[in-house]
């Protein structure tokens, strides 16, 4: 149902051909020997549409660029090239009031609840800062809004005047959510929101996020490595490998029938709760190649069990396969098998 409405709607965020390169500093010996500067290619041509009020899950191994993508969207990195459009308007290089306007509407929540809050500021100070910088309320309105926010994320009474160290990890993530919501954003970028939390506490925060999203009509980018959780919360899921999307599609379809060989391996490697599904051989051999030196052709071909000579030569484009899009020359044959 949600899928059909998405087809018709215009995307909230539209990302085209996004590249992000980080140059490494040259060491003295590199300079003396005239070796070229090394470049980390974190994002290599990402194309992505995010629809209003959907949850888009982003999964991949560490170093695949999923956090870089989240940070580019939240405006924390300026991409090397490519375009990010928000409601049709490019947000790259925005300045002044328009930059602040965009920042207000797209808010980020971070992974580590211990380092993402200022330890010397009470919860009230943290929330007040956000609200006053963007001049959303004044006078008594600020305190009313703070109470409202804390109730929204279900922090106990009296939480406002405590410091971060007085809270547990789960409660700190709620403060992070309250801080993001204080600006009445349209879109939340959640970078590994619950991965630092204990399993028994994760569910509390995930439930809160789902409820807030439905009540406030928020768009959520859910970046995580826990595949079960991503499957549960996302409408659509994008699988990233070495800075490019290799597969994107409706969550249930992608998890029940992945088409790209990398998605298949990633899903198979995730530990299943069913002991009868035990395997003796690992799902995927080898490791992620260095983003300093990305293989030519299909970036996955060095680890792919189905790779042919074509794969090492030609980079496959993201194209419609089944219910979603897949970047693989042989998606039909591999996904169908």
């Amino acid at each position: 149902m949600i899928e059909s409405t998405h087809q018709a709607a215009t995307p909230l965020l539209s990302i085209r051909d996004l590249f992000m390169r980080f140059e490494k500093r040259r060491s003295l010996s590199d300079t003396l020997t005239g070796r070229p500067r090394q470049v980390v290619s974190a994002l290599n041509g990402v194309d992505l549409d995010v629809m209003p009020a959907e949850t888009l899950g982003i999964v991949g191994e560490s170093g695949c660029g999923k956090s870089t993508l989240a940070r580019c969207i939240a405006g924390l990195h300026r991409p090397t090239s490519g375009d990010i459009r928000f409601e049709g308007e490019s947000v790259i290089g925005l300045k002044g009031a328009r930059r602040r306007g965009y920042n207000k509407r797209v808010q980020m929540m971070f992974q580590d609840p211990y380092t993402s809050l200022n330890p010397r500021m009470t919860v009230r100070d943290t929330l007040r800062e956000a609200i006053t910088v963007h001049r959303l309320r004044d006078g008594a309105g600020i305190d009313r809004r703070i109470d409202e926010l804390l109730e929204l994320v279900r922090l106990p009474d009296g939480a406002a005047d405590k410091y971060p160290h007085e809270f547990s990890g789960g409660q700190r993530q709620r403060i992070g959510i309250a801080r993001a919501l204080s600006l009445e954003p349209t879109c939340l970028v959640a970078d590994e929101l619950v991965s630092a939390l204990d399993v028994s506490v994760q569910a509390q925060v995930v439930n809160l996020l789902l409820e807030l999203q439905d009540n406030l009509g928020l768009t959520v980018l859910f970046v995580a490595h826990d595949l079960r959780l991503v499957r549960h919360v996302s409408h659509r899921v994008a699988v990233i490998y070495l800075g490019a999307i290799v597969e994107i599609g409706p969550s249930e379809a992608l998890f029940s029938k992945p088409m790209h060989p990398y998605s298949q391996a990633l899903l198979a490697a995730a530990p299943s709760l069913d002991p009868s599904e035990r395997r003796r051989a690992p799902a995927l051999s080898g490791e992620l190649p260095s983003p300093l030196d990305i293989p030519p052709g299909c970036p996955f071909h060095v680890r792919c069990p189905h790779a042919t000579e074509l794969c090492s030569r030609e980079k496959p484009a993201l194209r419609p396969v089944g219910n979603g899009m897949t970047a693989c020359h042989f998606a039909e044959a591999i996904g169908g098998a």
């Binding site: 949850t55 191994e61 560490s62 547990s168 990890g169 789960g170 409660q171 204990d198 399993v199 028994s200 506490v201 994760q202 569910a203 509390q204 995930v206 439930n207 789902l210 409820e211 490595h225 595949l227 079960r228 959780l229 499957r231 549960h232 919360v233 996302s234 409408h235 969550s251 249930e252 391996a265 990633l266 198979a268 490697a269 995730a270 530990p271 299943s272 709760l273 069913d274 002991p275 009868s276 599904e277 035990r278 395997r279 003796r280 051989a281 690992p282 799902a283 995927l284 051999s285 490791e287 992620l288």
Partner: protein, 337 residues
């Protein structure tokens, strides 16, 4: 069920590890008893602060002198608790080896991996230098490091995270240990690499007849790797049994809740079961059951009377005063969905 005939190598009886002032002790592990057989993989699962790592460290006496260990740790019939450092050192690393979560901080960054392996060989075997080198190559080869001969001279930073963990395992295996203690060996790794390491530990345990105690917070890791599982909460064991039985049919309210808070077979984007509250602090543990404050079926006696770990079916033990109520509570919840 050939496991039944294998000899029991480690018996832990009433293990108690406490820290802090003797008059106001912080009890990290309280009255924990379990056994491990040769060739068996026992999973010790719990949240952060549940005492699972301290249990493991108490076995090798590496929490001393700051931690006070009492109870019996019978290694092949001999009690390790009263041993002095010199006698412990003959067991440590030789008969019982340990691997840690952070392979980077557990390896010496200034020594080559070849040297670190042969150090262990020199300490625990009679091999000469040439034989040690040959054995080091053999070990690196066994844990799946490609081109082992060429990598002996490499330093830890030249290996990736997964390869470093393999080096750690190779060092641990140098003395042919009969018991491997693995403290969250894959928590810092990606799922695909985690999968490779877990399959490796499984194969080594099977082929070498080595017993393994695997500490983890991930039920999926337990399901895929362990023969038996012991669930810890607040420094105590709350449930033990064969992995498949515990996962299919948990009995303790904590394990029941924990398994239900992991999304599987639930409609997407519906609220997950969440255990209310947060794990208790060590200085705030009740005299009775540690889970009382978060338990849906707790009665008045739970706070004061400690439930003992009692037999509950074949090879299973549960510590709960309200077993029937717990089962009824969770099956009623499931029926309502």
């Amino acid at each position: 069920m050939s496991q039944l005939e294998k000899e029991t190598v480690l018996e832990v009886w009433h293990l108690r590890t406490e820290f802090g002032l003797p008059e106001r002790p912080l009890v990290a592990v309280d009255d924990v008893s379990f056994q491990v057989r040769a060739g068996e993989i026992l999973g010790l699962v719990g949240e952060s602060g549940s005492g699972k790592s301290i249990t493991l460290r108490s076995i090798l006496g590496i929490v001393r002198p700051r931690g006070r260990v009492s109870g019996e740790i019978l290694w092949k019939g001999r009690d390790l608790v009263p041993l002095d450092e010199a006698s412990l050192r003959r067991v440590r690393g030789r008969e019982i080896a340990m691997i840690f979560q952070e392979p980077m901080s557990s390896l010496n960054p200034l020594l080559t991996v070849g040297l670190q392996i042969s150090e262990n060989l020199a300490a625990h075997t009679e091999l000469d230098a040439k034989a040690r080198k040959a054995r080091a190559i053999e070990l690196l080869d066994m844990v799946g490091i490609p081109a082992a001969r060429d990598r002996l001279g490499d330093y830890p930073h030249e290996f990736s995270g997964g390869m470093r963990q393999r080096v750690m395992i190779a060092i641990a295996l140098a003395s042919n240990p009969k018991l491997l203690l693995a403290d969250e060996p894959t928590t810092a790794l990606d799922v695909t690499i985690q999968d490779q390491i877990l399959r490796l530990i499984q194969a080594l345990s099977r082929d070498l007849g080595m017993a393994v105690i695997l500490v983890t917070h991930d039920m999926g890791v337990v399901a895929e790797t362990c023969d038996r599982v012991a669930v810890m909460y607040g420094g105590r064991l709350c449930e033990t049994g064969p992995t498949a039985d515990v996962i299919r049919d948990a009995r303790h309210p904590y394990s029941l809740g924990l398994l239900r808070s992991i999304p599987r077979d639930v409609a997407p984007r519906t609220p997950l079961y969440s255990i209310p509250g947060a794990p208790p602090a060590l200085n705030a543990l009740p005299a009775g059951c540690a889970f009382t404050a978060r338990c849906p079926v707790a009665g008045p006696e739970c706070l004061d009377v400690r439930p003992s770990l009692e037999a509950a079916g074949r090879q299973r033990q549960v510590a709960c005063h309200h077993r029937e109520e717990a089962l009824a509570h969770f099956s009623a919840r499931e029926a309502a969905q």
